[in-house]
Amino acid sequence: MPLLPPAGAGAEAEASGTHYVLAASLDKARHLSTMLRAVHFRDVATCAATANGLKVTVESAKCLQASAFIQAGIFQEFVVQEESVTFRINLTVLLDCLTIFGTSSLPGTSTALRMCYCGYGYPLTLFLEEGGVVTVCKINTQEPEEMLDFDFCSTNVVNKIILQSEGLREAFAELDMTSDVLQITMSPEKPYFRLSTFGNAGSAHLDYPKDSDLMEVFQCNQTQTNRYKISLLKPSTKALALSCKVSIRTDTRGFLSLQYMIKNEDGQICFVEYYCCPDEDVAETEL
């Protein structure tokens, strides 16, 4: 990328006298923008960078948290000078900048990205290049705020299934949005895995048998029926559309974890995770 500033946080620190706490390079900006779109249902997101990579989190109504993980290996360079670098940023603006050269690119062309951040109080600076044209963006950042801790740990997981995403895509795209809730039933017995809605036209149930071809893992120990506000879960359809596999887990409190495995065009794998707490009015667990 001859047109972008030289790679290597060290070189930049010397050259410009500024100290980047986060410096990253990515040959194809869309590897990042696609992942961010999967969690883009609010304007504000929290970015957290560690040596492992970048985590971008969006929250809603104090009941839903979605995170996109783009691990360091996806980037051509990813250097974090502190243990963890965190800031809040306008995700809509960030996406507009990452896709400044358009979203549909001709095969063979791509936008190269260099991302730099000097720390608290500084903007996030993006250098984007495509076809010899360079765009520089400086996006203001804000102080990070405390994020929800869903305290979801694998030891409390009661039920877990892993499904191929193609099985769920149509179901989620066609969810009856006149229903307030999406009810998820998971059980070692029939109906095994059931999605239900209760809308103006009536209730709809969609069952997936445990021996279905789409079912990769079926580990259900206890019958659980939980309801979640459908407006909170609907945005996860974006992540589902991009993914090849999804893991659905519920814990002893009825909290829901959806993990989506997303493969980009170069075969690299990233994850998106949604946590959702059950709708407080109705939460039943049957023994």
């Binding site: 900048c97 896709t99 400044i100 903007p123 010899g132 765009t135 963006c137």
Partner: protein, 284 residues
Amino acid sequence: MRFRAKILDVACLNHFTRVINTIAKLAKTCTLRLTPDKLYFILTDKVANGGVSMWCELSQGNFFDEFQMEGVAAEHNEIYLELTPENLSRALKTAQNAKTVKIKLTNKHCPCLTVAVELPSLASSSRIVTHDIPVAVIPRRLWNDFKEPSVPDFDVSIYLPVLKTMKSVVERMKNLSNSIVIEANLNGEMNLKIETDLVSVTTHFKDLGNPPWVSDGDSQNSTQDRDPETMAEARVDIKKLQQLLAGQQVNPTKALCNIVSKRIVHFILLHEDVYLQYFIPALA
């Protein structure tokens, strides 16, 4: 005053439709000037237009198989009409598979451009769809208002970058800001910049080339003594720039802009024998 014209060739019809669609994107109402050889779509820089003005010139021979007109008088063999180009655009939408399209000036309860589209039909007689587009005849005493604009005394003239890239960038910038700064210098460099409380974005285009204008004795063309690095800039309404770019075909024969610092940006676009001048004033 008479006007009748006919298009028989489907490629000409598609081309004409594309031109009208472009004009419809740029102006809600405009003036159509008809002469024996050319059609002109003209928009003058009234406050109602937000100060933009437009001059679009087509040779009738490139589109019409038949073209006859008689102006208001022998010495003034021209017709000026005020029309809403979107109406013409809609009429032409029905003409996609037409055998012929006839346009003529008529007087139904008011002056109209009547577009008669002959569509293929299975029956022996053709189907004809007729659209009457109301127009207003502009009297000769007002014709002076619609003269061809002169090229302004610009500070910098520069060829535009690849329109596809410029279009994408301006589309995105439109989401972020209401105004955009266009700046360019005589070194073939152009920058598009937006700056708000939330974000600042600058796109740098290089090696664009500067058109060689021949300066006649009269015009004070200051470009000769100008430092090639110095930028001429103007801040304009980003929607107006986006509208201009949205209507353009991908590869114009010629595309350039002239910048009068802090005053106006003047675009010249030539594509398949359609010549378009478009002026966007700088914001206060």
